[in-house]
């Protein structure tokens, strides 16, 4: 499954890119699995996703709970809790 992933704030800095298109293995079916897969993929991912409980996720612009399924997703955004305002 091809998926666009965008990164923000320190997640972006640790990943070294703002956005990438990945080809996901079929067993990576939800957000929990996606974070684990990114953490296992390379050193950048290991650094960015060492503490998955600190990561917030939006699918196609909508905030999702940590275990939400990826089925039908076109763009996943991964970022720390917001500090806006």
């Amino acid at each position: 499954m091809a998926l666009t992933i965008s990164y923000f704030a320190w997640v972006r800095e640790r990943m070294g890119v703002a956005e990438e298109v990945v080809e996901l293995p079929v067993e990576v079916a939800d957000l929990t699995a996606l974070l684990a897969w990114l953490a296992a993929r390379d050193a950048r991912g290991a650094l960015a996703f060492a503490e998955p409980q600190r990561i917030r996720v939006a699918i196609d612009g909508v905030m999702m709970r940590p275990g939400a399924p990826l089925a039908g997703a076109r763009e996943v955004a991964l970022f720390p809790p917001v500090t806006g305002g």
Binding site: A58, P80, G84
Partner: protein, 154 residues
């Protein structure tokens, strides 16, 4: 009038206020948030998720105008690199009556702190660079509004 903007350019508070002033509404409440130079801060960088930030501000503006009778509402957030004393955020709410303008203004700034997709990175004079952590206090202030019936706030 509902005016919502996310912009890298400096916020012209006077020009925004003039738009509300021209309406001659009985009451205008405003909130201006500025960059604080605490601890030797020299730059504040605000990163945003463009689509979600715009949508978040728009939703917030509409939530306020559903809740209170507002004649005009302005919500402007600056993004990118800013220096101490620069204006980061401007909220302006006008209504025929003061209680609605004041309540809407307070609601909007409290909610902005948690609902909008923005991240702050601080750079200090000694070279330190750090992303700001979310504050628990902000979530408490914003949640307040879910517990108070709309009628008791007006």
């Amino acid at each position: 009038m509902i005016r919502v903007a996310v912009q890298a350019a400096a916020i012209d508070v006077g020009a925004e206020l003039d738009l509300h002033d021209a309406g001659g509404h009985g009451a205008s409440a405003s909130f201006i948030g500025r960059v604080r130079g605490d601890g030797g801060l020299v730059e504040l960088f605000l990163e945003h998720h463009p689509v979600m930030t715009e949508a978040g501000l728009g939703d917030l503006a509409h939530a306020a105008s559903d809740r209170w009778k507002l004649a005009a509402l302005t919500l402007i957030h600056r993004v990118g690199a800013m220096a101490p004393a620069d204006t980061i955020v401007l909220v302006l709410a006008s209504s025929p009556h003061r209680s609605e303008a004041l309540a809407a203004c307070e609601f909007l700034i409290d909610r902005l702190k948690t609902d909008v997709m923005l991240w702050k990175r601080e750079t200090f004079g000694d070279g330190r660079v750090a992303w700001v952590e979310a504050r628990a206090g902000d979530e408490v202030r914003a949640e307040r509004w879910d517990q108070i019936p709309a009628s008791s706030r007006t």
